[in-house]
Amino acid sequence: MSRGYIVIAQNNNEFDYLEMTYALALSLKATQRENAICVCVDEYTKGLVQDKHRKVFDHIVDIPWNDDAGADNWKIHNKWKYIHMSPFDETIILDSDMVFTHSVDHWWDYLATKDVWCCTNVKTFRGEDVVDDFYRKKFTELELPDVYSNFSYFKKTQPAYEFFRMVELIMTHWNVYYDKFLKGIGQNWMSADMAYALAIKLLDIEEVVCDYDIKDVPTFVHMKSHVQNIERTKIDNIWTKSIPSELSDNLEVRIGNFVQNLPVHYVQKEWMTQEKIATYEKAVL
């Protein structure tokens, strides 16, 4: 049984997702025994792939059936295609703006007890459980499963295909599903998390693909500013303006004096600098 991580990297005018994915891949190589990574790219991003990327990306896959994201800057529209793009029997979905800090290899066997396992518990930089629904009012209002699409696990089984089929329907007919099921407070734009949550709800599989009792697997540190258990008025919307952080030469990620030992979703794209990438390269290559 092959295992690996999958990421969609689609550059836009603003951010270099390919470079972020490169840093993520290096962090995987540095910390994980299971470190294979499949990077899914559109035509434009494919043209930017260099030899250094090919050295650390185990698979580079074209996003199939056209690019659903089109001209949108926030390219999340292809996130139903993971199961079709993954070369692995078992896959964990990641976002480009993540890094790994310590081994989570031991999570795989545990995740393998389900066909699909969606992450429902994330942490602050201090390791506390995130309880604030600042960015998730609609989830609360509509009692949607509190899932995070990144760090979702799936294996290529019938239930997993059915789940991604539902996500596909929602994403490709967003307006219809939004009007019928998602109207109300909070966001009206499509997000992968919301599409996954609605798919789980419509298929009535929350108890199958989520486990709210287990707070520590799968999980990651989610660096959105207003879930850090810090008063709203005291932290900038861009967390890097409020909380000091660093990547040390031994690849230790420190945020606010806390050494991070979980995968970190740093959110602020500018956090991943060329200097940090060079640190990873020096350690890994």
């Binding site: 932290i235 909380i243 000091p244 420190r254 606010g256 004096n257 806390f258 050494v259």
Partner: protein
Amino acid sequence: MRGIILFARNNGYVDYVKIACASAGYARKNLSEFDEICLVTDSASADEHPELIKQYFDRTIISDNFQPENTRLFKDTANSPEYASFKNMGRSEVYELSPYEETLVIDCDYFIMSDTLDQVWGSENDFMINYQYRDIAGRHGGNVSYIDDFTIPMCWATVFFFRKSEFAENLFNLIIHIKYNYKYYYALYNCSGNLFRNDFAFAIALHMLNGNVSFKAPSLPIDYLNNSFDLDDIFRVNSANDVIMYCAKAETIEEHLLSRFTNTDLHIMNKRAIERNVDTMLELGETL
């Protein structure tokens, strides 16, 4: 040997030694599983109340270590705030000073009014301290404070337990290091103010000693500290486990609510309030 240690050094503003005697009397009255109660003080403070100290303490340790100038604001309810020196630098030396295998350290303004802390003796933990507190007046909403909004949780060095062990030795060595370099660590951890605080030093040391990851040391048997802040006052002391407090209202701190506390350990931070009642407290406590 199991011992309770109180630190008290008079500063010309508060008679800490007398307050410590009252606190020791309460501890002796309400706890039973310890062997000794010990006062750590300096020569000048010890000379102020030699007879009283003999009555309340099994042992006195004189530590005349230099105390750098540390000044803090003392309040007596919302009135008469005054600055005075604050000699709190000795606490980190307790590992070396303690003659006991198991030591419970309490602030001299911490009044043991229940037998809960008897549960610390024989604990498998090398060190125990609380991270949570409750404001008896309810003015402070949360029960966990951070040293700073962006950094580590604060612990309360008002009461802690340790046993002679490698962990505790390392911890206190680190606290001493932080004490002598506290301006650096204050900057590193965004600590507010210039006053050296044991609470900060303990929290930083515990954080560092555990690899700078999310960590909390084991708590004392009741996992929070009952704090009466210095805006509160004592209305009446009924017995060694019964006190009625004036609790300053959240909305108007000049106004108070009467609240009675029985069989509840209490950290009373208004030193003037304690001094006004200290003779009664000395009478109600137990002597040797």
